[in-house]
Symmetry: C2
Amino acid sequence: MNDKKDYLHKLRHSAEHVLHQAMKELYPQILLAMGPATDDGFYFDFDSKPEGKEAVTITEADFPKIEKRMQEIIDQNLPITRHEINVIEAKKMFGENPYKMEWIEQAKERGDAISIYWTGKPDEKGSMVDLCAGPHVDSTGEIKAFKLLSVAGAYWHGDEKNKMLTRIYGTAFSSQKELDEHLNLLEEARKRDHRKLGKELGLFTFSDMVGKGLPLFTSKGATIWRELERYVVDEEIKHGYQHVRTPNLAKTDLYKKSGHYPYYKDTMYPAMKIDEEELILRPMTCPHHFALYMDKPRSYRELPMRLAEMARLYRYEKSGELTGLIRVREFTLADAHNFVRKDQAAEEVGNVLDLIEKIAGVLGLEKGKDYVYRLSLGDRENKEKYYDSPENWEYGEKLLRTVLEERKAPYYDAKGEAAFYGPKIDVQMKNVLGKEDTAFTVQYDFCLPERFGLSYRNEEGEQEQPIVIHRSSIGALERSMGFLIERYAGLFPLWLSPIQVGVVPVSDQVSAYAKSVHDAFIGAGIRSELNVENKTLGAKIRDFTLQKVPYLCIIGASEEKRAREEGKAYVSVRTREGKNRGVVVLSEFLAELTKHIEKKA
Amino acid sequence: MNDKKDYLHKLRHSAEHVLHQAMKELYPQILLAMGPATDDGFYFDFDSKPEGKEAVTITEADFPKIEKRMQEIIDQNLPITRHEINVIEAKKMFGENPYKMEWIEQAKERGDAISIYWTGKPDEKGSMVDLCAGPHVDSTGEIKAFKLLSVAGAYWHGDEKNKMLTRIYGTAFSSQKELDEHLNLLEEARKRDHRKLGKELGLFTFSDMVGKGLPLFTSKGATIWRELERYVVDEEIKHGYQHVRTPNLAKTDLYKKSGHYPYYKDTMYPAMKIDEEELILRPMTCPHHFALYMDKPRSYRELPMRLAEMARLYRYEKSGELTGLIRVREFTLADAHNFVRKDQAAEEVGNVLDLIEKIAGVLGLEKGKDYVYRLSLGDRENKEKYYDSPENWEYGEKLLRTVLEERKAPYYDAKGEAAFYGPKIDVQMKNVLGKEDTAFTVQYDFCLPERFGLSYRNEEGEQEQPIVIHRSSIGALERSMGFLIERYAGLFPLWLSPIQVGVVPVSDQVSAYAKSVHDAFIGAGIRSELNVENKTLGAKIRDFTLQKVPYLCIIGASEEKRAREEGKAYVSVRTREGKNRGVVVLSEFLAELTKHIEKKA
């Protein structure tokens, strides 16, 4: 499996060289900056306006022309060969390209060997050379299928102070079938993109007046949020958590004391100095929960003590890194800190994973398929990045591993991914494309209890230091919502649907009856919307269908007549999947929906 | 009624002069700074460490001695007389007192007449003079009853850069009976003080590490919060509100555009500049809700559009003004902005008052008794403080007044108390002492819709500007909690009680049975706590009683035996008021509690 991945990586990198060659032939004045392979393709960054040269503008309309030229280079089956050169030679070869010169200077400083890759015979016509660490496939003919995907702007080194370059994204596979499958997936992902669906379904928006990375949730989006939040809070309380509320502000000193400051200061908002105080927006909840723990002396009887909060947190992300609801500048974490005796820690980590799996299950996520665990370990050698306490690291890592092993959880190791204060288990969620991302974590912490001098009185009356399990149960609400929008493709389960039932009167004659049906839903706590607009029946049904409303109640003259005659309300029910349920007794339908909502299924 | 109030004010001011005279006789070196009458008494600020003089330390232990001397002065029935003098005379008389000299300078600048009040015959032994604007009662004998209450530090002019003075608080009445009643009320208020009860009941705490004015709610406090919040949100949704979620941050420019900035900049937190953005913590929600309104074109069909939010807001209060949960540096307002057509505004204000009265009723607050309305008007002359648009002011003020009149609401006028953007109705809550405070407001706004260019398409297809009703339904959650703690004296109604039932096993033999009873409560969604500590029955009952837990279930051998024999659980129930309900069937008690909780009674 890994061999295949490595091969694809080489193949894509080579496809990028072919793209480079085609581009240089078509637009000789451009300057290549960089062009790596990625997990699912490659990209190619170039300077489209080199100084003193005419600017080149590339749009997707140019792709067929470029792809045609690429295909010709592939069809020639040119060999791709590696050569080592020295710095003087390199500077001579790439002297006209300042981006390459920067790489050469860096390689020189590090004392690295400089390698170049030739496509085609060196120095012959129709060949191309690039400064490149490789590796590559042997010849261009191995590229059986490729596609250019999109074009965008990108700053050199991702820094907005640098020049804006042009980036072309593409991908390549060893067969057309694999490429087609991938393109289908991409199309599916595009359709499910939470930014696109969020707009279409009117769930959230952004405002230039308010600022970047600061989503505003409409009533519909906030409804999903509220359902999720109440469910998670209630579930956590059932699992023995104490839900608390702590401020979003704290003295800057608090984060110096906790030791977070040096690790987080780049993403923390600037401190606000007023009068004698210096306050800062919190990037995490730990110190606030520690302050609550420290509010009075604690006894072993109180442990495990699980302090949970829907905590609003603040981290300043670079504008280039902001992505819909996935990366924002203010977010709400379903956070908790579980204070335990050292001998309770293993069981408690198990409890936490039970809760995570319970909630994931309710959201329809399958362990091993939709998410796996990652055991993130520290690095004893790196004393700058990790709190120096080898025995504690050893103990904590072994503990987490044992918990994972004993519950036969799907997991893998990741060295150097731990928090500075201890090892952790990351919950790795897979998105529609199968791409894995850390959704949230369960951390084993022996370091902060020490720094804050946390303690409890043990059974012998002596002071002991607790272990703290930092954990989330669902991650950041913003990110979860983004993830769920994509996962459900906007087709939320009934309990999460912002509108659960759409009521559509066929004509004005039945609008009073339709209103009474709508009121019956509202009275039963079901989110109903009544459409009495001056539109055709078809248009009204279409509106609700586009809104992905799970159930439609069509109210016609026959339902109204029957209701009048039998003294019992009837509605004609249709599902968003287009299934016609026919005429049903309203009270029975209400009971069915209520049960369905309660089950969160 | 007002005559009585004026008389009491004079009486108390005169009592303060008597205190001054007594203090000067007992501690000649002190310097009087100021000493006004207040709504319920008086205070007396003096410099206890004048330069070059020996420092005087006053504690409550000194009160009997001071009160004795005051009583002697009162018994002498000295006349209190007013005299006008010029600046030269004033400076001669008060030259040794820098505080008085400051007053004299100010009076001189303003060109005011300078008045002094003599107690006793001018310049005779046993008399006293003070620079004072008055008025006073005619003689000290009118002070029939007085009491010194407390001593504290206070900065000159309330500014921490100035010298710290000593402040003695006291009060006076025209009869001993009235004084006794007042002292009883004060004692009651002291017992109900939410800061005291909050600590005793473990509802919230403050942390020096975190910062001043930033309360941390424990699980118990957060439980009350959650019940209140969920109730208010659900009630608002039932009343046609759309609950949304918007960020706590925004660009500073947003508040410049809204026009809030000049009025609020003193209490706003400093702006945070990072990269290209300048962000600020929001002091109010309006611009965020406007941004949501402006997200797409609006039609008259969408109005009234009511955007509501439990909005976290940030205002920096001076440390001297911070008071428990009443004045904090970060708070959560049950906020909303109702966008309406001008011809809908009156009805909408009525709807808002209906909602406020509904929620107040659920919390046990009686209109006219516990709260009244205040109609806060603008001042057409003051164009700096109020948006300049006389017709709109006229219209808005008349509209609010008509609404209040038509519903026969108890209200009074307050000129110059409007918001800068329009008139408002303030909800004036009365505390335990009968003191009135603005809890929150309903504002009529014609100004911000203009500034933001808000509009909707009317029935004729033309763009029109909506009116915005800014309103809260319960005010800030922090303040409401503080208020409710005092109102209920910690004896929360069942639905708000952090622990609803305490389960107490009489012995270890019945602890399994007690656990099953506790689990039955939890399973039914009732907040139960099981006390299995190694304590006596009496101590356990006492613990729950101190926590003001509404119901106690005592589990003894007989209940356990009966349950075993009859296959039906029994518990012995006792209320926090000490009423013994005897042995009841658990399932019936559960049903009773559930019903009781649902009714929020």
